[in-house]
C-alpha cells in the first residue's frame, strides 16, 4: 500500500479479542465444540489434501483490519471525501452514462434485502423476483413495441455484441456492418466479441454525421452481410433520418437490421421495431439507475416473438404460466433450446450472473413514469438538448457540428478558439462546471456535451455564459 489512508491506519490487534461479527462460529468455544462434534483435531485436518509446497505458511501481507464498523465508516468515508460528485457541481457529462433523476421509490425497492441479497431460487420461494423480472421484460416490451425482451445482460456493449451474434447465427453469414457513429470503447468491445465468428466492417458516417447509405448499399451487394447495425441516437446524440431506409437496405440484402437505442428517448422517438429493426438492443442505465462512476450499466436485447430469433437468445427469458391453482400467476424459464428449430451450433455464447437487479430498477422506473412520464421525459430532453445547442452555438469560439440534426441528450461541440476541449474543461472545472466528454478518438477540439431533464434553462445559460469567458 503506497498511499496513507486519510483516516490513518488502525492499531494492529495482536489477537482477535472476540468473534468477528460476520463469522459467528469464530468464537473459540463454539469452534472447539464443533470440531469435537465431528471428531476433528483442528481445522488443519480439513486441509490434508493441499500439498505442503502449495501452502502459504505466512500471514497475507495486508493492512491491519478495521474490525469495528465505526473505524470502517471513518476510513471509507475519508476516501470518498476525495471525490467530487455531480451533485456538488454542474456536470454536462453523458456519452454512455446519463445523469437522469433516479426516483426515490426505485432506490427503496432495489435496496430491499429480499431483492438485494437473493440469487437463484426456484419460482416458488423467489416468486417475487420472477414476477418483477417478467414485468421488467413486459414493460420494456411496451416501450420497445417488441414481444420478447431478455433478462438483462452485463451492459449495452454486451447487448450489442449478443444481438449481432444472434443475427450471425440466424443468417449463417460472416460480416456485420456498423453504419452509425459508435463510441470507440463500444466498437472495441464489439469487434473483439465478434472476432471469433464475424468480421465487423465499419462504414464511416458522412460529413453530415448521417450513415452513408450508398456505401452501405455497396457493402451489402456481396450478399454475405449478417446484420446492418445502426444506433438511434448515435454516440454523439444524433438521430439519423436515414434509419428507416437502412432497414429496407438490410432486408433487401437478406440481412437482419439491428438497432441500438437509448430507451429514455422512446416516449418521443419511434421504437426501432416500428421502422424495421429485427433486433433492438441498448443500455437501461438511463432508466432509473445511478451512474456510480460507470457501474450502473445493464443491457437489453429485444425481438418479436419469432421462433427463429427466440431460439438464438443465449440468455434467460422468463415466461408467464398457470399454476395448479386457478387465478394464480406462475413463472418459469422459456425452454427455447427444446424447440423443433435446429439451433445453430456455431458461435454460441455463455450465460452467467449479469445485472438482474438493474432490470428490476428499470421496471420500477417505467411503472412510475407511465406513458405520459416517458413522453414528457423525451420531450424535455429533446427541448433542452436543442436549447443547449442554440445557446452554445452563439458562443464565440464554439461551433456545433451537425447542428441541423435532431440530437437526444448528447450533442457535439467543437472549440474553434485557442483552447482544446480538455483545456476548456480545466477552465470550466475551476468555475465549478464539468464540461463534456472529450472525443479522444476524433479530435481534441471536439467534445460531447449532454443535458437531460435534470438540467434547467438556467444551468444551460450559465454554461453558455461561462464558455463566453473561456472559449475564445
Amino acid at each position: 500500500m503506497t498511499a496513507t489512508p486519510p483516516s490513518g491506519p488502525a492499531p494492529r490487534a495482536a489477537q482477535a479479542p472476540h468473534a468477528h461479527p460476520y463469522i459467528p462460529n469464530s468464537a473459540p468455544e463454539v469452534k472447539r465444540a464443533m470440531l469435537e462434534a465431528i471428531g476433528a483435531a483442528g481445522v488443519e485436518d480439513f486441509y490434508a489434501d493441499i500439498p505442503e509446497e502449495l501452502r502459504l505458511r505466512r500471514p497475507l501481507d495486508l493492512p491491519a483490519p478495521l474490525r469495528s464498523e465505526a473505524q470502517l465508516v471513518r476510513h471509507v468515508g475519508g476516501l470518498l471525501a476525495r471525490n467530487t460528485s455531480t451533485r456538488e457541481v454542474l456536470s454536462f457529462l453523458g456519452a454512455g452514462c446519463y445523469p437522469h433523476h433516479v426516483p426515490a421509490v426505485v432506490d427503496e425497492v432495489v435496496n430491499r434485502s429480499e431483492f438485494l441479497t437473493a440469487y437463484a431460487g426456484e419460482p416458488y420461494e423467489d416468486h417475487g423476483r420472477f414476477q418483477a423480472m417478467w414485468e421488467y421484460q413486459s414493460l420494456m416490451a411496451e416501450l420497445l413495441a417488441a414481444e420478447v425482451v431478455n433478462v438483462p445482460v452485463y451492459d449495452g456493449f454486451q447487448a450489442a455484441g449478443t444481438a449481432l451474434r444472434m443475427a450471425g447465427r440466424c443468417t449463417g453469414r460472416a460480416r456485420v456492418l456498423a453504419v452509425s457513429d459508435t463510441g470507440p470503447d463500444k466498437l472495441s468491445k464489439v469487434v473483439d466479441y465478434l472476432r471469433p465468428e464475424h468480421q465487423l466492417v465499419t462504414v464511416p458516417v458522412r460529413a453530415d454525421g448521417r450513415a452513408d447509405l450508398d456505401a452501405v448499399r455497396a457493402e451489402l451487394a456481396a450478399g454475405d452481410v449478417a446484420a446492418v447495425w445502426a444506433e438511434a441516437p448515435g454516440y454523439a446524440g444524433l438521430v439519423d433520418e436515414g434509419l428507416p431506409e437502412l432497414g429496407e437496405l438490410a432486408h433487401a440484402a437478406g440481412a437482419l437490421y439491428v438497432v441500438g437505442c437509448n430507451p429514455a428517448s422512446l416516449g418521443v422517438l419511434a421504437p426501432p421495431s416500428s421502422y424495421g429493426a429485427d433486433i433492438a438492443c441498448g443500455d437501461i442505465q438511463p432508466l432509473g439507475i445511478h451512474m456510480s462512476y460507470g457501474g450502473g450499466n445493464a443491457g437489453f436485447v429485444a425481438t418479436q416473438d419469432d421462433e427463429r430469433l427466440v431460439a438464438e437468445f443465449p440468455t434467460r427469458l422468463f415466461g408467464l404460466v398457470p399454476t395448479a391453482v386457478e387465478g394464480e400467476y406462475g413463472f418459469g424459464d422459456v425452454a427455447f433450446e427444446r424447440t423443433s428449430f435446429a439451433v445453430r451450433e456455431e458461435g454460441k455464447e455463455w450465460v452467467g450472473t449479469a445485472a438482474a437487479l438493474h432490470g428490476i430498477a428499470a421496471g420500477v422506473y417505467l411503472s412510475l413514469m407511465g406513458p405520459h412520464g416517458m413522453r414528457e421525459l423525451g420531450e424535455t430532453v429533446l427541448a433542452r438538448t436543442a436549447y443547449a445547442k442554440q445557446r452554445l452555438a452563439d458562443v464565440p469560439g464554439v461551433a456545433i457540428p451537425h447542428a441541423d440534426a435532431v440530437h437526444f441528450a448528447d450533442f457535439p461541440v467543437r472549440f474553434t478558439g485557442s483552447r482544446t476541449a480538455g483545456e476548456v474543461n480545466a477552465a470550466l472545472r475551476e468555475r465549478g462546471i464539468f464540461g463534456g466528454a472529450v472525443r479522444t478518438d476524433r479530435d481534441p477540439r471536439e467534445a460531447l456535451y449532454c443535458v437531460t431533464e435534470t438540467h434547467t434553462a438556467d444551468d444551460i445559460d450559465l454554461l453558455a455564459d461561462t464558455l463566453k469567458e473561456i472559449a475564445q
Binding site: 482477535a16 452514462c97 433520418e241 422512446l266 421502422y275 456510480s292 457501474g295 395448479a324
Partner: protein, 535 residues
C-alpha cells in the same frame, strides 16, 4: 365505575406460551398480487417529470417535428398508470414474496458462496460520492474512488500472489471471458494463435469455462472425473499438446474436493506450451491458505459477489477480478489504474491490451463493497473466513451424511473444503422422490437448495455450501429441515411430491414454456397469443 370482575382469574398456566416446535412453521408471504399491468387507472401518475421552461419552448419549438414521421412515436407505450404509493406497494409486496439471503439460512445454493453482505458496505455505495460520480470526470475529482480501486488491486494481488489485477469484468463469467481473451491475445502476439486452438477444462469446473472458451472460438476438451472424483490426470496427459492454448480449471471443484495434483496439472500444460487459468469461484475455503501463484498459474479470477461478499442482487450486478503474472499484464483490459506516488490516474494507452470488456472501469459499487469487506477482516480475518467456512462445511457434512437416503459420492472418507455435492440417489431408489422435489419441500420450511449443473454426473444431486456466515444453530436447523423432508419422503411421499404447500404459489404448469405457440415472455405476447387480443 369499575369493570365487572371476571368470574375466574386467568391462571399462570393459561398465560404460559408453549415452547416453539423444533421446526419453524414457516409460510412464505402470499399477497396474491396482480400483474402491474392490471393495476392503476388512466390518469394516475407515479412521478412528475420537469417540463421545459417557457423560454426553452419558445426558443426551440418542437424539435421532434424536424424528424420524419417514421421516427416519431405515434402511439404512447402501453405502460401502466399508477400513483406513487401504488407502485411502491406493488413492488414491496413482490419483494416480500422473495426469499433473500438476509432472510434464510442460505447454505443451499452451493457454488454460489451465499455469505453475509454487510449492510454498512451498502451505505458507501449509496453515498453520492459513489452513486453520483460520472465515469468521465477528470481524475482530479475522483481521487478517492481511484484510490479504492488501486488499493483493492493491491489486496487482491497479495491474496492471489499475482502481479497485476483488473477489476473491470462485470461478473464471474465475464472474468473467464476476459482471461480467455488475454490468452488469445498472448498467443496472437507470439504468432501461435492459429495452431493453439484448444482449451482444456474439467467436468466439475463451472460450465462457463467451456462456454467462454467456445464463444472465443476455441475447441474445448473436457476431462471427466476419475473414480475418486479428481479430474483424470491421464486424460490430461492425453489431451495436452502443441494445440493446447490453456487449461481452465476450478480447484476445489464443485464437489468441494481439492485436487492435490494441481501443480502437476499446471506443469503438464506448461510443458506443452499452454497457459493455465485458475477459476477461483470456489476460493472461499482457501483464502490465506493457498494461492494461484504457488500452484504456478498464469491467470486467475475471483467472483467478488461470491468470495468477497457483494450481494447477489437476484443475479447481478456482480463483479469479477482477473489476476495475471507479469508476462500477461500487457494484455489486461484497459484502462488500468496507476499511481505515481502522488496522484491516481486511469491509463488507457496500452498497445497490447485486449481493450474494454465493459463500459468504463467496472461495477464500481461492488468494488467499493469488496474493498470495505476485505478491510474489515484483514489477513487474520480472511484466514478465519476460510477456516470457518471449511469447518462449517465439514460440520454440516457430518450432519447431512447421517440422513437416511443421502450419500456423498467420490473420495470416501476424505474431508471436503467449502462445499459438498451430495446425492439423494438412495432415497430416490427407495421412494421415487427426486432431489428437485426435496428442494421444493425444503421451501416450505423457509429455505431452498440447488441441485447441480447439467448433465448430472452425480445422480439426484444437492450442493450445499455453508460459508463462514452461519452459526452452529443455523446449520443445525438446516440439517433438521433436510432430515424432516427425507423422513417425509419415506413416510408421506405425497406431501413431498406435491410441494411446495406453504409458498407464494403452487406447482406451475411449465409445459406451456416449451412450445412456441404458448410461451409468453411478455404481457404483450400473452395478450396476443393467449388472450387473443390484437396488440
Amino acid at each position: 365505575m369499575s369493570a365487572p370482575k371476571p368470574a375466574t382469574e386467568p391462571t399462570r398456566e393459561e398465560a404460559r406460551i408453549a415452547p416453539k416446535p423444533p421446526l419453524r412453521r414457516f409460510h412464505q408471504a402470499r399477497w396474491d398480487e396482480q400483474l402491474i399491468f392490471e393495476l392503476g387507472t388512466p390518469g394516475e401518475r407515479g412521478i412528475s417529470v420537469p417540463a421545459p421552461e417557457p423560454e426553452v419552448r419558445e426558443a426551440v419549438g418542437d424539435p421532434a417535428a424536424a424528424l420524419p414521421a417514421a421516427l416519431r412515436r405515434s402511439t404512447p407505450p402501453a405502460l401502466p398508470e399508477l400513483g406513487q404509493q401504488q407502485v411502491l406497494r406493488h413492488y414491496l409486496r413482490l419483494s416480500q414474496e422473495n426469499l433473500g439471503a438476509d432472510l434464510n439460512i442460505d447454505v443451499g445454493q452451493g457454488t454460489c458462496t451465499m455469505k453475509y453482505s454487510p449492510k454498512v458496505n451498502d451505505t458507501f455505495t449509496r453515498d453520492p460520492r459513489v452513486a453520483a460520480l460520472h465515469p468521465l470526470q477528470d481524475a482530479s475529482t475522483v481521487q478517492g474512488v481511484l484510490e479504492i480501486l488501486h488499493r483493492l488491486e493491491g489486496l487482491l494481488k497479495e491474496i492471489s500472489g499475482m502481479d497485476r489485477v483488473s477489476l473491470q469484468p462485470a461478473a464471474g463469467s465475464s472474468a473467464i471471458w476476459t482471461n480467455v481473451a488475454m490468452i488469445r491475445a498472448y498467443f496472437a502476439a507470439r504468432g501461435e494463435a492459429e495452431e493453439r486452438d484448444e482449451v482444456i477444462t474439467t467436468s466439475f469446473s463451472h460450465p462457463s469455462n467451456a462456454a467462454c472458451a467456445k464463444t472465443a472460438g476455441y475447441r474445448v476438451i473436457t476431462l471427466p472425473p476419475d473414480a475418486d472424483g479428481y479430474p483424470d490426470i491421464e486424460a490430461l496427459r492425453a489431451a495436452a499438446g502443441p494445440r493446447t492454448a490453456a487449461l481452465l480449471i476450478t480447484n476445489p471443484e464443485d464437489t468441494g474436493i481439492y485436487n492435490p495434483r494441481i501443480a502437476e496439472f499446471v506443469r503438464i500444460v506448461h510443458e506443452a506450451g499452454g497457459l493455465c487459468a485458475y477459476d477461483q469461484a470456489n476460493a472461499n475455503g482457501i483464502l490465506g491458505i493457498t494461492r494461484a501463484r504457488e500452484a504456478g498459474f498464469d491467470l486467475c479470477h475471483f467472483n467478488l459477489h461470491k468470495t468477497f461478499s457483494t450481494p447477489h442482487a437476484c443475479g447481478g450486478p456482480a463483479a469479477g477480478a482477473c489476476g495475471v503474472t507479469e508476462a500477461l499484464a500487457p494484455y489486461l483490459p484497459s484502462p488500468t489504474v496507476e499511481f505515481d506516488g502522488t496522484d491516481y490516474r486511469l491509463e488507457a494507452d496500452r498497445a497490447e491490451s485486449i481493450g474494454s470488456v465493459r463500459p468504463f472501469y467496472g461495477v464500481i459499487p461492488n468494488l467499493v463493497r469488496a474493498y470495505a469487506w476485505i478491510m474489515s477482516l484483514g489477513a487474520e480475518g480472511l484466514r478465519e473466513t476460510a477456516e470457518i467456512a471449511v469447518l462449517n462445511n465439514n460440520y454440516l457434512l457430518a450432519k447431512v451424511s447421517a440422513i437416511h437416503g443421502v450419500s456423498v459420492p467420490y473420495a470416501q472418507g476424505r474431508p471436503r473444503l467449502e462445499q459438498v455435492r451430495y446425492s439423494w440417489e438412495r432415497l430416490h431408489d427407495d421412494t421415487g422422490v427426486h432431489s428437485e422435489e426435496i428442494g421444493l419441500r425444503a421451501a416450505d420450511f423457509g429455505t431452498h437448495y440447488w441441485t447441480s449443473h447439467h448433465p448430472y454426473l452425480v445422480p439426484e444431486p444437492m450442493t450445499l455450501e455453508p460459508t463462514e456466515s452461519y452459526s452452529r444453530a443455523d446449520l443445525d436447523e438446516y440439517a433438521a429441515i433436510l432430515t424432516e423432508v427425507a423422513r417425509e419422503a419415506y413416510e408421506d411421499t405425497g406431501t413431498v411430491r406435491t410441494a411446495p404447500h406453504r409458498s407464494t404459489v403452487h406447482r406451475t404448469k411449465e409445459d406451456t414454456l416449451e412450445s412456441p405457440a404458448t410461451w409468453a415472455v411478455t404481457w404483450r405476447a400473452y395478450r396476443r397469443k393467449i388472450l387473443g387480443e390484437s396488440v
